[in-house]
């Protein structure tokens, strides 16, 4: 068994490997950034038309709505808002997960470390271009609280990981991850604020959507950036969901280990 010191250096190293591994797919990352930028431009025009009809809607002005659009487009890569980003479903299908489960390290923390490295790389390479093009074409506002924003993005990645890890592990019981992937994508894209700011969802839908974990992946970091949400409670909300999802994932890891060990996959 590795000592405490080994575990401390293991996870940062895994994060670094995750970063480097994704850096080899730079062409795919740039292609993704290009697509995210094109969609950002299309979304921005629709929101501009809406905000011209209803100035000040949801507490944003037109510049705020445009900024919101390009920020959430920039989050697609690091937060994996369309799902994926983990090798786990593939490894479960092929049975390789058995090898992962016998390692003397937490599977969940292992995956989280790699995922943080991945997110850091994509935050720069896939997040930068949409924000830059948005700023050049339409002008986006400066961050209200830059430090709190970066913390909020990091927490958003952890919430996103917590959710995707649960979806991925569910493959152990469903045995084909495509259907689950679609379901997860639908929930994430709609309730994260990627399609429209949750602030303009009417009535109970607005209240509900802002309480669900997906809002921690895009809506909350964007609000912290724009100053339309108080940083302290916003970060607290994200941390709470991160803890809940990670705990749930840990429980499922235990169940998956029992299933793989007892039933042989």
């Amino acid at each position: 068994m590795p000592g405490h010191g080994a575990a401390v250096s293991l996870y940062p190293r895994l994060a670094w490997y995750g970063f480097r591994r994704h850096a080899t797919y730079w062409a795919a990352a740039l292609a993704g950034a290009f697509t995210n930028t094109v969609f950002g431009v299309l979304r921005a025009y629709v929101l501009i038309a809406l905000w011209q009809a209803r100035p000040g809607l949801g507490g944003y002005d037109v510049a705020g709505a445009i900024t919101f659009t390009f920020l959430t487009q920039a989050f697609i890569g690091p937060m994996q808002l369309f799902g994926g980003g983990l090798d786990l479903p593939q490894r479960i299908r092929t049975g390789d997960v058995a090898l992962d489960l016998v390692r003397p390290a937490s599977l969940q923390m292992w995956c989280l470390s790699e995922d943080l490295g991945r997110a850091a790389y994509l935050f720069v390479v896939r997040g930068g271009p949409p924000a830059l093009v948005g700023a050049l074409l339409f002008g986006i506002v400066a961050p209200h609280a830059p430090a709190a924003f970066l913390v909020s993005v990091a927490l958003g990645v952890v919430v996103s990981f917590g959710w995707r890890y649960i979806v991925a592990l569910a493959t152990c019981w469903v045995m084909d991850d495509r259907g689950l992937g679609v379901l997860s994508m639908v929930l994430t894209t709609f309730f994260s604020g990627l399609m429209l700011p949750l602030a303009i969802f009417p009535g109970w839908l607005g209240v509900l959507s802002r309480a669900l974990p997906w809002s921690a992946m895009a809506q909350v970091p964007a609000d912290v950036y724009l100053g339309t949400a108080d940083p302290a409670p916003a970060l607290g909300f994200q941390a709470l969901w991160a803890a809940v999802l990670l705990a749930l994932g840990a429980l499922m890891t235990g169940a998956a280990r029992r299933k793989v060990v007892i039933q042989g996959g």
Binding site: A28, A49, V182, I200
Partner: protein
């Protein structure tokens, strides 16, 4: 060609039926994905009475027409933009040793009828929009024409996206900007966008002929750019022109693959 396509599509349908739960989830997912767009339109019109000069029923009509065309094109030809995966995995070689067109084989590969769910959803929105619009009989015939033209235009875009991937094997997502981007662009009246974009979509990449120009004709509304009202009738011609370009690009892509091995 059609026989081979039907054969492969039927085979894949049975393969998909091996995972009934996933199949059910995917079908439901397709319906919900389409439903999400409608939810977005609903949220927008919960906040405003009109968007860029168009009311809810008009937007539903334009949305339904383009998304029905896109969903059917995606059902039939959407897998063409997965060609880079076949190149990387070497399965394109397997297709090339068979006595059938690689285009048909790629298009029918992993055919999944659950995408029909999306078409049904879009068709329902189109019908609901038309029901609320009171279009005169003399112009209703244009609706099926525009949907078929739209299918051809989107199929051509998928093919162009696939042809592009012969060059950009490592970056297939670029193609999405044109295919899914085209579907997103045509969800809303083009009057939402900058006139430079609308001009580009009229004269260069003919996305304006999916639902905008013919839609204006059906709705009997003048073109904000000042083009004559019969411009919408040119949709089939624009679709065929784009399809011809796409066919040439695809052939060039296959020729390149067979002459470079990458």
């Amino acid at each position: 060609m059609i026989r081979t396509y039907a054969l492969l599509a039927w085979t894949w349908t049975r393969a998909a039926a091996q995972y009934p739960l996933s199949f059910a989830l995917m079908t439901a997912g397709g319906l919900v994905v389409g439903g999400l767009d409608v939810a977005v339109i609903w949220v927008i019109f919960a906040n405003t009475g009109e968007l860029a000069g168009f009311g809810l029923t008009e937007v539903m009509f334009l949305y339904g027409a383009s998304q029905l065309a896109f969903a059917l094109a995606d059902l039939l030809f959407g897998n063409v933009d997965k060609i880079s995966q076949h190149i990387v995995a070497g399965t394109l070689d397997v297709m090339l040793i068979r006595p059938a067109s690689p285009f048909v084989q790629v298009a029918a590969d992993r055919f999944t009828p659950h995408r029909l769910g999306r078409s049904i959803q879009a068709g329902a929105v189109l019908a609901a929009g038309l029901a609320g619009l009171d279009v005169p009989l003399g112009r209703v015939w244009m609706v099926p024409v525009m949907v078929v033209s739209g299918i051809v235009i989107f199929a051509a875009l998928f093919t162009l996206g696939g042809a592009l991937q012969f060059l950009l094997t490592a970056a297939p997502e670029v193609a999405n900007a044109f295919t899914y981007g085209g579907a997103t662009l045509t969800q809303y009246p083009l009057s939402v966008y900058d006139t430079r974009i609308v001009r580009g979509m009229t004269f260069a990449l003919p996305l304006a002929f999916v639902n905008w120009q013919p839609g204006l004709y059906v709705l009997g509304r003048p073109d904000p750019l000042g083009l004559p009202s019969w411009t919408g009738l040119l949709s089939p011609a624009a679709a065929l022109a784009l399809a011809a370009v796409a066919a040439l690009a695809w052939r060039a892509g296959i020729r390149r693959y067979r002459s470079t091995g990458s």
